[in-house]
């Protein structure tokens, strides 16, 4: 590097590649940002299936209920036993009726259950949902590409 004058050094690094790279990273993270993942818990390992292809249309009024491997229910950010889940589910039902003015029968309970949870616990949760007037259910699984 040629130094013309030691008293007034002018270093002008070319920032263009750095800015390009930075913008690429920003765009990448923006595109991979998933706003719909709020209802997904990393505590749950879903079973996988090649038939569980993500549907293109959104479910009507989805109510997500997550069941941990321990048999505890994760609902609305709180962990509780299946029997204690009845109260928060009733509040959800009431808010669907009063706030949204919709029929609960049109809501869909999305069950995200851990692959190691007992099936009886899942059935128990379904029974509680039925007793709270919900009728539509889907069991969620991880899509395994062939």
């Amino acid at each position: 590097m040629l130094w013309r004058n030691r008293s007034s050094v002018s270093a002008d690094p070319d920032l263009t590649p750095l800015i390009d790279c930075t913008f690429q990273l920003v765009v990448f993270f923006l595109l991979t940002l998933n706003f719909s993942s709020d209802e997904q818990s990393e505590l749950i390992r879903l079973p996988s299936s090649e038939l569980a292809k993500p549907s293109e249309g959104a479910l009507e009024m989805p109510v997500t209920v997550q069941i941990l491997a321990s048999g505890m229910v994760l609902f609305g950010g709180d962990t509780m036993t299946p029997e204690a889940f009845r109260g928060p589910l009733r509040r959800e039902r009431d808010s669907i009726r009063s706030v949204l003015g919709r029929d609960v029968k049109n809501a869909t309970i999305v069950i995200r259950a851990d692959q190691d949870v007992h099936t009886g616990v899942v059935q128990e949760v379904i029974r509680i949902c039925q007793e709270t007037d919900f009728e539509r259910f889907v069991l969620r699984a991880k899509w395994k590409r062939q």
């Binding site: 920032l15 750095l18 800015i19 930075t22 913008f23 990273l25 920003v26 993270f29 923006l30 991979t32 940002l33 998933n34 993942s37 997904q40 990393e42 879903l46 079973p47 996988s48 299936s49 090649e50 038939l51 569980a52 292809k53 993500p54 549907s55 479910l59 069941i67 999305v110 995200r112 259950a113 851990d114 692959q115 190691d116 949870v117 007992h118 099936t119 009886g120 899942v122 059935q123 128990e124 379904i126 029974r127 039925q130 007037d133 009728e135 539509r136 259910f137 889907v138 069991l139 969620r140 699984a141 991880k142 899509w143 062939q146």
Partner: protein
């Protein structure tokens, strides 16, 4: 912004530092909030409300195809039964359900209903494996999903059994998963 004059040319110096700062802040924010999830799909199940004990008699519906899944005390699969027949694996179950579906109502399987009757402690992954075997298959193009049976329901839950390992004699050979 500085404007220097070099022999008649004006050279503009933009201060890039704030922009780079902001970009790095954005990168750090996105990096910290990044959560990678694999795509998920759903299996619909039909669970009508329990009928009242008194009142009008229930409508007569076609008898569902019954699939019984039994479990070892540790929750692993110990047996698969389609009606009264034992199945070696979920692949075997899939073949049989495909035959039943074709016989009853054609390839679409409209009208055929499957009832899953499972042990309480059976791990949930086997339910999804059974649904995988029963509800359809991926066609040769590896994209299209051919639906066999869409109507799935659970039998009433069985009460958990307080068995110890010695109480249950496991079958000679468990079914393949």
């Amino acid at each position: 912004m500085k404007v220097n004059t070099y022999g008649g040319f004006q050279r503009l110096f933009f201060n890039m530092t704030p922009m780079i700062d902001v970009c790095f802040q954005l990168i750090i924010f996105f990096m910290l909030t990044l959560r990678l999830f694999s795509p998920e799909g759903d299996f619909g199940i039909t669970m009508p409300l329990a009928l009242p004990s008194s009142g009008n008699p229930p409508m007569i519906e076609p008898t569902p195809v019954k699939i019984r899944l039994t479990a070892y005390p540790d929750g692993k699969l110990s047996g698969i039964q389609l009606g009264q027949r034992s199945m070696n694996s979920f692949a075997h179950l899939h073949e049989q359900v495909r035959e039943v579906s074709n016989m009853q109502s054609g390839p679409a399987g409209a009208g055929t209903e499957v009832e899953l009757d499972c042990d309480y402690n059976l791990k949930f992954r086997y339910i999804v494996a059974a649904l995988n075997a029963v509800t359809g298959y991926v066609a040769n193009d590896k994209e299209t999903i051919v639906r066999l049976i869409d109507k799935i329901k659970f039998a009433p839950p069985r009460k958990p059994e307080n068995k110890t390992d010695g109480d249950t004699a496991p079958p000679a050979e468990p079914p393949a998963e």
